[in-house]
């Protein structure tokens, strides 16, 4: 207790030592603990104990101090407390693209679980750029986050993540694992997702199936670090198992944006031997592919069938509704948060890789190749089939 109060006073002294530069803007209306103590007629130490809920204070004194603190609009200094307690009650999250519904949904669940444990989330967006990621991780470490979630942008540049781990800050990876970094991770089985996405198209009789992906063509990282590569691998496996030569079956968009997928699909579908079916590796790719088909006047599924990996809220509502291999985005985010919280409580627990199941949702975007167009040339408004989950 003695040490504690000393540090606390020391911190306050740092704050208000005359001549030290204080805020660049006036916070004149923020009361200090000393003002609260003076107004309540107690010592600063007593006021501190009363508001902090530690040590012994008579209950009428505690009530009086609390009342004065309210009146004076005193707000505890979370920074000073953090220096004392060593906990900031802040978790960092470094994600690839917050506008992608997958990450939005995962982050929302991550924040919800963190919030229940009274932790706030500091969020950074990398746009899949390794330099941005390094800077974000550095910023979070400087802010002494209690732990951080990272969606690693590059499997090759991971020294900064090694440093997080060796510095003792709990780290969890979402969506991707890294060779050479044994750390808590929450992922899906991407190879399986790729295989599952091809299955309904193969069953419908398609032989010319192309995959549209934002994964780089020659990423040495391998499928563990790059979910796109895992999905490509599974997709190729499924094609080979069906006896299809898959030499040119994968089309790479230049990046993860909808417009990039749209351009790449446009090339593909207006090429010499267009595919009769498409598999897309995330919801942005799916939207880009649909936009390309629309621009060419092609209709899904009559002219081209489509299976997406990743569900999004608009997919069941399109005509036709889109058949997908759905990732449990919210559960992934929630699990990531609970793994971080667990590691805070049990720093020495062995790292775990948690693989959550994907789900095939059959909707209406798959038909046999060359399926007859409706005779009147317009789309039929059939009531949609209810979502049928199949494991």
């Amino acid at each position: 207790m003695r040490t504690f109060s000393f540090i606390y006073r020391h911190v306050k002294w740092l704050c208000y030592f005359p001549g030290m530069p204080r805020s660049t803007r006036p916070r004149a209306n923020v009361s200090t603990l000393a003002e609260v103590a003076a107004a309540a007629g107690v010592s600063v130490a007593t006021a501190s104990r009363a508001l902090g809920g530690y040590g012994s204070v008579r209950s009428d004194t505690a009530d009086r101090v609390a009342e004065v603190a309210r009146t004076l609009r005193y707000s505890r200094n979370g920074l000073a407390r953090s220096i004392v307690t060593g906990r900031t009650h802040t978790l960092g999250a470094v994600v690839a693209d917050i506008e992608n519904p997958f990450f939005a949904s995962a982050m929302r669940a991550f924040s919800d679980v963190a919030g229940k444990a009274a932790s706030q989330v500091l969020l950074a967006n990398t746009d899949e750029d390794a330099d941005t990621e390094r800077a974000a991780v550095e910023m979070l470490l400087q802010r002494r986050v209690d732990g951080m979630l990272v969606v690693p942008a590059s499997p090759m540049e991971i020294d900064h993540l090694r440093a997080v781990q060796s510095g003792g800050t709990p780290l969890v990876l979402l969506d991707r694992t890294l060779a050479g970094l044994t750390v808590d991770s929450v992922v899906i089985d991407n190879v399986l997702a790729g295989r599952m996405a091809a299955a309904p198209l193969l069953s419908a009789g398609h032989r010319r199936i192309a995959m549209v992906t934002s994964a780089e063509r020659d990423d040495p990282a391998g499928p563990r670090a790059n979910p796109g590569l895992g999905r490509i691998l599974g997709f190729r496996q499924a094609l080979r198992a069906a006896g299809i030569d898959d030499g040119d079956a994968v089309a790479h968009a230049v990046d993860f944006r909808v417009t990039s997928a749209e351009e790449r699909t446009l090339e593909l579908l207006s090429g010499p031997r267009p595919p009769t079916a498409l598999v897309t590796t995330d919801s942005s790719m799916t939207l880009g592919a649909i936009r390309a088909a629309r621009r060419l006047g092609l209709r899904v599924p009559h002219d081209v069938s489509l299976v997406g990996i990743d569900d999004a809220d608009w997919m069941p509502v399109l005509v036709p509704p889109i058949t997908v291999v759905a990732q449990p985005a919210a559960q992934l985010g929630a699990h990531a948060a609970s793994l971080l919280l667990r590691r805070l409580a049990e720093p020495e627990a062995p790292p775990v890789v948690r693989t959550l199941p994907v789900t095939m949702i059959m909707r209406g975007s798959v038909a046999p190749p060359g399926a007859a167009r409706p005779s009147n040339g317009t789309l039929v408004w059939a009531p949609p089939r209810p979502d049928v989950p199949q494991s």
Binding site: L14, C15, M20, P21, R22, T24, R25, R27, A28, N29, V30, R73, S75, R76, G78, L79, A80, S82, I83, T88, H89, T90, I98, E99, P101, S105, M107, R108, D112, G115, Q120, V121, L122, L123, A124, N125, M139, L141, Q142, R143, R144, S166, G167, G168, P170, L287, I290, R294, D313, W314, V317, L318, V319, L344, P347, E348, L379, W381, P383, P384
Partner: protein, 365 residues
């Protein structure tokens, strides 16, 4: 060294000083870039810091400088593409200016928002961008303003709160969207506000009089735009066609089904955000109804899927990214000490006409 979780140790400034063979004060000056230190000493201290993996503690620095270079952002629903895009606008602009963003999702819940604002204030963020969730109580926002902490409201206004606000002209946008439906011949236009049921009373006031006074939400001003478009066309207002039944897609679908079951159902619907519009499309499909042959639809926010919806959706497009970016720029001026009167920044919205509006069907379906 301070022992921390994991049994590993974080090197402290005294550790660096000891390794470099200088006093702690000298090490602090060398690493902080202030005061006078010999160049050779500075290099030695930096080398020692790098060897030990020493990292400046920005919390401690913040206590001294009073600035955390962090802004807090409290948004209603991060899964709604409007907020995700606005957040990107805020975060990109903030990073350019050397600020970080702390995000809290309020889920349109007043208690969540209150606790988020309290915690962010305790963490001494330099400023706050808030999209207020609820009209009933804004005392926590007044507390922020009274404490002299810069605050910018995104998208939604709170009357008599001395805070900057950025958004579109919601009244004009809703009026134009409604007028577009009326021009196609519709006389019964449903309005999905996405507001919670607590707003129902205000939204069911006779003739929607005074509806623009609903605070902390765009619902009121947009409903007023809807009202004035109908009034200009000499059409009556029907409370049964105005919904405040929640902001989730399922809730919007239920509200749509309720309206379709009315003895005199709407022939057109105005949905005040993209998630609500999805709910309308879903309900129409569940009923085997066609848009726009049976029911016309105008949405708010030009989501990326709007162009591939069936039919492609006519929407009020807001410059969402720019709204977020402008929110941060307004906040920055305040954080740099601006004591000017509260600014209300209005960015232009536009009606993007696609294919979801047609003439009303000849006979009731």
């Amino acid at each position: 060294m301070r022992r921390i979780a994991g049994g590993r140790a974080t090197p402290t400034l005294p550790d660096v000083a000891q390794a470099a063979g200088v006093s702690t004060a000298t090490a602090a000056r060398a690493l902080g870039g202030y005061g006078s230190v010999r160049e050779e000493t500075r290099l030695r201290v930096q080398a020692a810091a790098a060897d030990l993996g020493y990292r400046a503690n920005s919390l401690a620095r913040s206590l001294i400088t009073g600035s955390t270079n962090t802004v807090g952002v409290v948004l209603a629903d991060i899964e709604n593409s409007f907020f995700a895009r606005a957040l990107r606008g805020i975060a990109d602009t903030a990073h350019t200016e050397g600020f970080e963003v702390v995000l809290v999702n309020s889920d349109e819940d007043l208690d969540n928002e209150r606790s988020a604002v309290r915690v962010l204030t305790e963490k001494r963020v330099d400023g706050l961008v808030v999209c207020p969730a609820d009209a009933r109580d804004t005392s926590h926002l007044r507390g922020v303003v009274n404490a002299g902490i810069p605050l910018v409201l995104l998208d939604r206004r709170v009357p008599r709160l001395a805070a900057d606000v950025v958004g579109i002209d919601n009244h004009a946008a809703a009026q134009e969207a409604t007028a577009h439906l009326l021009a196609a011949g519709h006389k019964r236009v449903g309005l999905l506000t996405g507001g919670n049921p607590l707003l129902s009373e205000a939204l069911h006031a006779p003739g929607l009089i005074g509806v623009e006074r609903i605070a902390a939400t765009t619902v009121g001003t947009r409903a007023a735009g809807y009202r004035d478009a109908l009034k200009s066309a000499g059409l009556p207002l029907d409370p049964a066609l105005i919904s405040a039944e929640g902001f989730h897609r399922e809730e919007a679908a239920m509200a749509t089904r309720r309206m379709l079951d009315l003895p005199d159902p709407p022939t057109a619907i105005l949905a005040l955000d993209s998630v609500l519009a999805l709910g309308v499309l879903q309900a129409l499909r569940d009923r085997g109804l066609s848009c726009p042959d049976d029911v016309s639809l105008v949405g708010f926010d030009d989501a990326e899927w709007a162009v591939v919806a069936s039919p492609p959706l006519t929407v009020v497009a807001q410059p969402v990214y720019e709204i977020g970016a402008e929110a941060f720029r307004l906040l920055l001026r305040r954080m740099q000490g601006g004591n000017h009167r509260p600014v209300r920044k209005v960015l232009p919205a536009s009606l993007v006409v696609r294919e979801s509006v047609g003439a009303p069907p000849d006979s009731p379906h």
